[in-house]
Symmetry: C2
Subunit: 292 residues, 2 copies
């Protein structure tokens, strides 16, 4: 069990708890990189505090919390900027297909993919949303439908496998999704099913947008093939709540994420703007701008 | 409520019950055409019996049952033939992706898509199967996994949205599905999600096979656009058993089927053989052979 830093009675124990908590949080979602960026940032803050000397130990926890809150506020601003850049891409009255939840329930701010939708709606664009339920954990049904309904944005729920016929109908004008990690070459890891949507969007000539802060771009991952994909438990697919839905002995394949090649991504929307036809060159240029 | 013909006390009531039962059965699955073919056949048998005179009324029900059993036996033979033709298409040790249940639990015989797999397995081909769970009603999880496991054929269950990454992995050698109705031009209606699989199979250069008896070909439907698509209730997606999984007020899109254009179908496997690159010309030629 991980113990919070606030329980530590000495500076050494405080740092030990900080590292342990960071490790546990990072391991909880191996595919997502933002989480690891956040954890790394907090560990750096902790080490800086320790370097300043043990005399201020009594205030380390509150200083760490201040830094975390600051990080959270920055995240809110990133989300707003992503929303503003993305909203400009949507035609008036667009129907947007989204997958999983990349909204206020999954990020520090108003979301990434959903921030684009919130922003368009707030600008007076009468957008509508088609939400994939997103098996196995139904984040689309449970979270996306809930938060969009609450915001008064018209949302219709469908099974993941119904996305193809919706795209074929011509009534979907854009697919907008979030991302857990973007490789240096623009390959995008996101919730299982995203890659299939990208292929379908391409087949139907519908733009496929990925909305994510630049912290999602992992320059240490050359391509999507090097992004670790979390494989989750069989129980998520063998049943549902207390209802058994498959023979218990059947083997299950349950990757939680998949990788969409950059070539299928119309644009990546970050806090800095819209990166059409993403590539290593463009992502590196943007990373330099960010640091400059 | 529909009353069975066996309850009828006069020839006129018997015919009335027959028509009512036929109407109710046909209306239960508007997309499937085989069911309507079967119902039509039974009504014709009933009318023939009536035309022969009322003196034999006491035996009409048992004669109708004999005709139904004969139809069932013919269905078993069709399934076997489909299986034999389809099995020849599968490379040794192929991994086959299938969707929904087109097996012994859904047909008179050993199935259509699954008959291909059963036949290959019985011929000594060590095939394996990847079964889409098939939301919302989970026929893949509940039925396909059950019947294949029972037959000793290795089957792995996955979410529908995981099919894309499985195809991208290169480990799937064929997609084999059934069909509820095939239009005259070769467009295929089948369980929702089938069309998406066809696009994905095409994108990954994996053959996409549709296994169905020629009774599935509806020459009265010029194209897939004229096939009625059953829209089912929201409750199938808003919850699962007793577990609520989405806000109750959210609108739901729940088409039970979709249409795959003939251009995405590598071959249609019928009891007569394998129809590569199906077209109106080829389907009409096959229909003539059948009648000849």
């Amino acid at each position: 069990m991980v113990i919070g830093v606030q329980e530590a009675t000495t500076p050494d124990l405080w740092l030990e708890h900080l590292h342990k908590a960071g490790k546990a949080l990072s391991a909880s979602r191996p595919t997502a990189v933002n989480l690891q960026v956040g954890v790394q940032k907090m560990i750096e803050v902790g080490l800086q505090l320790a370097n300043q000397g043990h005399h201020s130990f009594h205030s380390w926890t509150s200083q760490l919390l201040d830094a975390a809150n600051q990080f959270h506020r920055e995240d809110e601003i990133l989300c707003e900027r992503i929303g503003a850049h993305g909203a400009a891409l949507l035609p008036d009255g667009a129907c947007i297909l989204t997958h999983c939840n990349a909204g206020a329930l999954a990020t520090g701010g108003m979301g990434t993919a959903l921030s684009v939708i919130y922003s368009a709606f707030q600008n007076g664009n009468p957008v509508t949303v088609l939400a994939d339920e997103t098996r196995p954990l139904l984040q689309g049904a449970r979270l996306t439908c809930w938060e969009l309904s609450r915001a008064g944005i018209p949302v219709t729920l469908q099974c993941d496998s119904a996305a193809a016929s919706a795209l074929a109908s011509g009534n979907v004008h854009a697919v907008v999704v979030g991302s857990d990690r973007i490789a240096r070459n623009g390959d995008v890891a996101n919730k299982i099913g995203t890659y299939g949507l990208a292929v379908l969007a391409h087949h139907h000539d519908v733009p496929f947008y990925v909305a994510a802060p630049t912290t999602t771009v992992d320059l240490n991952c050359p391509t999507g093939a090097t992004i670790p994909i979390e494989e989750r438990g069989a129980e998520e697919i063998l049943g549902f709540g207390n209802t058994v839905s498959a023979p218990g002995e059947v083997p299950v394949r349950n990757p939680a994420f998949d990788v969409t090649p950059a070539a299928l991504v119309t644009a990546i929307i970050t806090e800095h703007g819209v990166l059409h036809a993403p590539s290593e060159e463009k992502l590196l240029a943007q990373a330099e701008t960010k640091e400059g």
